[in-house]
């Protein structure tokens, strides 16, 4: 077989892989067909990898096969992490993807230093900058999610100006390289500046904004792969990168809308300093609290219960206890559903995965728009570790930083119960008027042990 004919066979295999990738995402439109999506993706990816090993350009296998084995050795344990660790694992995989794209771009520069044209230099520089900043940015995001780094936003005066200057520096170096691609000294400097910018991009962003940030980083990782496809003239990379990039972009838009914020506001707004203004008023107001016995009594008298989970449920690892509560209430003939806010938790869909892990049927998990109309007919709204997404100030208080954010209308339920550790304001540091309403009962304690006590009460009464 001539080399050209072989190349055409390889291209054909890549086209099949691309078709399988698109089908893979299409299967994800319903939970019923979703697992076929994984299979389609796996076949496509396996096909692409195997045919690439037959590419005539590959002349030695040692430094291909050893890293493949190492990669599988890292990948399998990362695929088996606990479900509560999925957000940080996802951030880490954005980092790996971006690292890989950046490394290939850098290698392309050093392979072709003599022959590289200005146009190619521009492509390579852009690709390497995006790959590098996504790499360090994702590592910082993973560190925050793993709580190795502080989750609160780290801010200082003039931060945006400093950060944007660093980005301008990286782009300036890229421009200088385009003008004269043989200025090889500038290339590593550009990479380092881009790496630094990635750190500066994510450190000022707080934990509650992670769903948006993780989606944006997903998008960047996709864009860097697509750009790499341009550099290498590889259409399979262009397609896969475009798919990943548009997925991350769509998710970021959904997350931003769910917080009523713009991209620029998330990236440069540093949400999360405690609002000092309301501090004086707080102490006057009283809250009503209740014991597990009282809570169990109210729940067993209800017909319709809506549970609102939030990040606090994930932190307390309470999802399995919540499932026991779901079981005991369902057995009593009570209609129990879950209201999922798009930004509940630390990444898109976080709550759904945790509740599915606890074996709660997915048809009980309701999106915000579908459940909001039903709160007035709901007897009890039970909030477990969610705060800002239930804050009625978002509808009424124009001075609130979250004013305009779509929320779950739990305050319209007949009774509201909130499991919370203390009256400390939530992550965004915003006071929640829900807690001072007459219909609201505060259940102070750890989510897991409090739900456990309620379950004990309820199952005790059943006999």
């Amino acid at each position: 077989m001539t080399e050209l004919a072989l190349q055409q066979y390889l291209d054909f295999a890549y086209i099949v892989a691309v078709v399988l990738f698109i089908l893979s995402l299409k299967f994800l439109s319903s939970p019923v067909s979703a697992r076929w999506g994984v299979l389609a993706g796996e076949i496509g990816a396996a096909l692409a990898v195997v045919v690439t090993l037959f590419n005539p350009e590959v002349v030695q296998y040692k430094w291909v096969l050893i890293p493949l084995i190492i990669g599988a050795g890292i990948g399998v344990p990362l695929g088996l992490v606990h479900m509560t660790a999925v957000p940080q694992r996802t951030a880490l995989s954005h980092a790996f993807g971006a690292l890989s794209a950046a490394m290939i771009g850098i290698a392309e520069y050093y392979v072709g230093t003599t022959a590289v044209t200005r146009f190619e230099m521009g492509e390579i520089a852009l690709e390497v900058i995006i790959g590098s900043l996504t790499f360090t940015g994702s590592l910082i995001a993973a560190g925050k999610l793993q709580e190795i780094l502080p989750q609160r936003p780290i801010v200082y005066r003039g931060q945006n100006i400093v950060s944007l200057s660093v980005l301008a520096g990286a782009l300036g170096l890229a421009a200088a390289l385009v003008v004269n691609p043989t200025h090889a000294v500038l290339f590593p400097v550009m990479v380092i500046v881009a790496l630094i910018f990635g750190v500066m991009l994510v450190t000022p962003i707080g934990g509650a904004d992670m769903p948006t940030v993780i989606s944006l980083l997903n998008s960047y990782a996709g864009v860097s792969a697509a750009l790499l496809g341009f550099v290498l003239n590889s259409k399979v990379l262009v397609v896969a990168g475009a798919l990943d990039g548009s997925s991350g972009f769509i998710l970021s838009v959904i997350m931003c809308k769910a917080m009523n914020r713009s991209f620029t506001n998330v990236m440069f707004g540093a949400f999360g300093q405690v609002q000092a203004s309301a501090a004086g008023v707080q102490e006057e107001r009283t809250v009503r609290s209740a014991t597990p016995e009282e809570a169990a009594g109210i729940l067993s008298a209800a017909d319709k219960v809506v549970i609102v989970p939030g990040y606090g449920m994930a932190v307390a690892q309470a999802q399995h206890k919540v499932r026991e509560l779901y079981d005991v209430l369902t057995k009593k003939g009570i209609d129990v559903r879950f209201a999922i806010h798009p930004v509940a938790g630390r990444m898109p869909g976080h709550m759904n995965v945790l509740l599915a892990e606890a074996d709660i049927p997915y048809d009980r998990l309701m999106e915000m728009d579908d459940i909001n109309g039903e709160f007035p007919q709901t007897d009890v709204a039970l909030i477990i570790g969610a705060n800002d997404v239930t804050n009625p100030a978002a509808r009424t208080d124009q001075s609130s930083p979250i004013y305009g954010m779509p929320i779950l209308d739990v305050d319209k339920a007949r009774t509201v119960m909130v499991i919370k550790r203390s009256m400390n304001p939530g992550f965004a540091g915003i006071d929640n008027p829900l807690y001072y309403m007459d219909k609201t009962l505060m259940l102070f304690g750890d989510a897991k042990s409090f739900v456990n006590s309620i379950v004990h009460q309820l199952s005790g009464n059943a006999h």
Partner: protein, 98 residues
């Protein structure tokens, strides 16, 4: 401007639209598996990494390529494993009845 650039741009724009239309239809229920699946698909950059490492041009490019192979292949393997694990957990009510 290299001639391939335009054809790549066509592919990029069309794939972007396909991605947009397909992903818009993904249930919000599955947004976390969506992200891990697109991560696994994006790890197809491993094919470029294999060529860079396998060409064995200079020590530097081989090392960079080898790192890229390991990083992207770990994403590919890990991404598929975790997506499948997550999707297996999503059950509707009473599947055992049938």
């Amino acid at each position: 401007m290299p001639p391939d650039f335009i054809s790549n741009l066509y592919v990029f724009i069309l794939a972007g639209f396909v991605g947009f239309e397909v992903i818009r239809r993904v249930s919000p229920l599955l947004h976390t598996p969506l992200m891990s699946l697109t991560n696994a698909l994006d790890a197809i950059v491993v094919v470029a990494a294999i060529i860079i490492a396998g060409r064995h041009e200079t020590r530097l490019t081989t090392v960079l390529g080898a790192i890229a192979v390991a990083a992207s292949f770990s994403n590919m393997v890990g991404g598929f494993v975790i997506t499948d694990r997550m999707l297996r957990m999503f059950k509707s009510r009473g599947p055992k009845k049938s």
